[in-house]
């Protein structure tokens, strides 16, 4: 698998599992889970510093930006203006030009507002950002995002944090066939088989947070996801057998009594 690197905007990634850093018990658990997952891209959110309690530790004291690619997101942004503002703040905070762009449309589903997403992506690409957009499983929107200049597209598998798994494999498959940039399936994964399935479909990577952080044993689930993503990728590259309705014997008939 060493020659099977994922390359986005000239950056090379060794792992095809990307992970979020939210919802963990503490930073020690976050750090351990990320290590075990094998991920080299981790997402972070941008928020106000707690100015009254300075004893609070910094996430980046645990997640070394020299070792991991830090991918700031615009989670919680419901307008183009907010998403652009948070992206600029993330860049000003000084880790990179990368941004996982989210423009959400609705609090209950957290589905992306794809019209707003396209508008925000246009602005940010012009400003030199490397925009990785969190989008719906809509091939037409995905293509528009690529046309704008997004070097990868991140369609959802199911609503964020839902754990419902791959709800629309056919749309995702169409996106993977139509779109000529890496596809990172983002959000909705519940367990290891979901991650493997996404990779078997041909996803270039899978991004998840809750499936690991919310598991009863997050460290064990991080390890399971590490294997699942690798297994799914290998199976995709190996090429699965066609589905047939009836049996095909795998032992020869010749030589039977």
């Amino acid at each position: 698998m060493t020659d099977d690197r994922l390359i986005i905007a000239g950056r090379e990634f060794k792992s095809r599992l990307w992970v979020g850093t939210g919802k963990y018990k503490d930073f020690t658990e976050t750090k351990k889970a990320i290590e075990v997952s094998g991920a080299d891209v981790v997402t972070v959110a941008v928020r106000r510093v707690n100015i009254t309690d300075r004893s609070k530790e910094n996430l980046l004291d645990y997640i070394d930006p020299k070792k991991y690619t830090i991918l700031p997101n615009t989670a919680g942004c419901y307008t183009v203006e907010d998403a652009v503002r948070y992206s600029r703040l993330a860049r000003a905070a000084g880790v990179s030009d990368l941004v996982k762009l989210e423009v959400l449309g609705d609090e209950r589903t957290l589905f992306p507002d794809t019209a707003g997403l396209i508008e925000a992506a246009k602005i940010l690409v012009k400003e030199g950002f490397i925009v990785l957009p969190y989008t719906n499983d809509d091939p037409i929107v995905a293509q528009k995002l690529v046309d704008i200049g997004c070097p990868a597209v991140m369609p959802l598998a199911a609503p964020i944090g839902s754990g419902l798994g791959i709800r629309n494999p056919y749309n995702l498959k169409i996106i993977m066939e139509m779109i000529k940039v890496p596809i990172i399936v983002d959000a909705g994964v519940g367990t290891a088989s979901d991650a493997a399935f996404a990779m078997e479909l041909g996803a270039d990577a899978v991004l998840m947070n809750t499936a690991i952080a919310g598991a009863q044993d997050p460290i064990a689930m991080a390890e399971a996801m590490n294997y699942a993503v690798q297994a799914g990728r290998l199976a995709y590259k190996a090429g699965r057998i066609p589905r047939k309705l009836y049996a095909t014997a795998s032992s020869p008939i010749e030589g039977m009594l």
Binding site: G20, L59, L110, G161
Partner: protein
């Protein structure tokens, strides 16, 4: 406090010296300047200018950093 001004930092009222700069404010709050972003009255500041940007009465300062997050 003489020659003191009131500003808003992350939504909270904060008192500081009238000649304080953004860099002074961060130092007073014991915030390391690496990996924070500072917005002064909605303008995102270049880190290199923290020492030159003087604060004035009523300024709105936002200091942000990275926290754990996946999606939300």
């Amino acid at each position: 406090m003489q020659n003191a001004i009131q500003i808003h930092v992350n939504g909270q009222v904060q008192t500081c010296r009238c000649d304080a700069t953004v860099a002074d404010l961060l130092q007073d709050l014991e915030i390391r300047t690496e990996r924070v972003a500072v917005e002064l009255n909605l303008e995102i500041l270049d880190r290199a200018t923290f020492g030159q940007r003087q604060l004035k009465e009523g300024d709105r300062v936002e200091i942000l950093s990275f926290i754990g997050g996946g999606s939300l």
